[in-house]
């Protein structure tokens, strides 16, 4: 079993208690409360869906469907899990279904330069410490390499890497979202990391 370093948890903009209040208001018919939930979770879910689909248009369309489904189902939400886990479960399931329908076709959008990556210490470290290996590396190239490596993973492995490494969720949270055991999550992570290492070996050596 892999002994991975725990990523820093995502910084929540508001607590689960605030979510509960918003959900109760939304269940009572307050559409503005649901709008607040959409505002809060759009960016987070965007990261999940985009890293799975690798396409911005698909991501936007899928997010619309995800929130539409959540809006229809919010009255049935009983609060057994947090809204955060619930909405992530919906997103993961809908994204995996979408990918099954789409097949192995992937269209990676590289037109947009992702904001902030130039200032990330990891990016700076990679581009300075390993100049001998990746002399000509730039944002687009690095992004392309990462996307290519991610696309080599199966959907089940990619979603675990996205939730754990990119979004910083804990094993137990991912276990609840996907409905599989923590052991399975760790096993998938180990396999995915090993595969990614073979594809990005020159960047990390």
């Amino acid at each position: 079993m892999e002994n991975t370093s725990e990523p820093s948890p995502p910084t929540p903009t508001s607590s689960a208690a605030e979510d509960r209040v918003l959900v109760e208001r939304a269940q009572a018919g307050d559409t503005r409360a649901f709008d607040d939930l959409v505002r809060k979770y759009t960016t987070k879910l965007y990261g999940l869906v985009y890293n799975m689909t690798s396409n911005r248009e698909d991501t936007a369309d899928l997010l619309q469907e995800i929130f539409a489904k959540a809006y229809r189902s919010v009255k049935r939400f009983q609060g057994k899990s947090s809204f955060y886990t619930w909405i992530y479960s919906i997103s993961v399931n809908m994204t995996l279904n979408f990918l099954k329908k789409r097949g192995r076709y992937t269209k990676v959008s590289l037109d947009d330069v992702d904001n902030g990556i130039q200032n990330d210490p990891e990016f700076i470290k990679i581009t300075t410490a390993h100049r001998d290996t990746i002399r000509e590396v730039n944002i687009h190239e690095l992004q392309k390499r990462l996307n290519d490596a991610m696309s080599k993973l199966s959907d089940d492995h990619r979603v675990v890497v996205t939730l754990y490494d990119i979004q910083g969720h804990q094993h137990n949270e991912i276990s609840k979202m996907l409905g599989v055991s923590e052991g399975t999550i760790r096993s998938r992570l180990f396999y995915a990391h090993r595969l990614l290492q073979t594809h990005l070996e020159d960047l990390v050596k």
Partner: protein
């Protein structure tokens, strides 16, 4: 320290793949527009169905659904059983059974009657013959007619011939 720490740090750079700043508000506006258009697209039947489904979702919990289904099945089963027993007639089966005595099977009744009667008659006949013989020996001077009649259990007169008597006795009488 994990053997994959370097690769994890590298993959973590993908967290910068975020939407633009105005994406969220535009997304929300599109979401509202989509909801309105969906409402307009819905047919009257679809709306009715959705309302009914929502009503029952709110009203009925799964355990009540199960209880309701079970109750319906029990009512249907009871109704079916009543129809089968009454045979479609208007009179209650219980009343009919109480009013009419259960008929005995004809063959069984005849067999029992005939055997009983035969046994009784034969027994009676032998008893009468025994009495007559004992009387005969008690009163020697009284002549016994050749043929006498006895009354059977059924009330019929049965002739008893002296020839049927043992030879010694019949010879002695004569």
């Amino acid at each position: 320290m994990s053997e994959f720490e370097d690769i994890q740090r590298l993959i973590r750079l993908k967290r910068y793949e975020t939407p633009s700043e105005d994406f969220v508000e535009d997304f929300l506006a599109q979401f509202h527009q989509r909801q309105r258009s969906e409402l307009l697209r819905h047919s009257a039947r679809g709306l009715l169905w959705e309302r009914v489904a929502t009503y029952f979702d709110d009203l009925v919990s799964p355990k009540w659904v199960m209880a309701g289904v079970t109750a319906c099945m029990a009512i249907v089963a009871a109704w079916g059983a009543m129809n089968i027993v009454s045979g479609g007639g208007q009179q209650s089966s219980v009343a009919m059974i109480a009013a009419e005595p259960a008929p005995m099977p004809a063959q069984v009744a005849l067999v029992v009657d005939s055997e009983l009667i035969r046994e009784a008659e034969q027994g009676r006949q032998l008893e009468i013959e025994g009495i007559l013989l004992s009387r005969h020996f008690e009163s020697e001077g009284v002549a016994l007619p050749d043929e006498t009649t006895v009354v059977s259990v059924s009330g019929e007169t049965v002739p008893v011939s002296a020839e049927l008597l043992p030879m010694s006795f019949s010879g002695f009488n004569r």
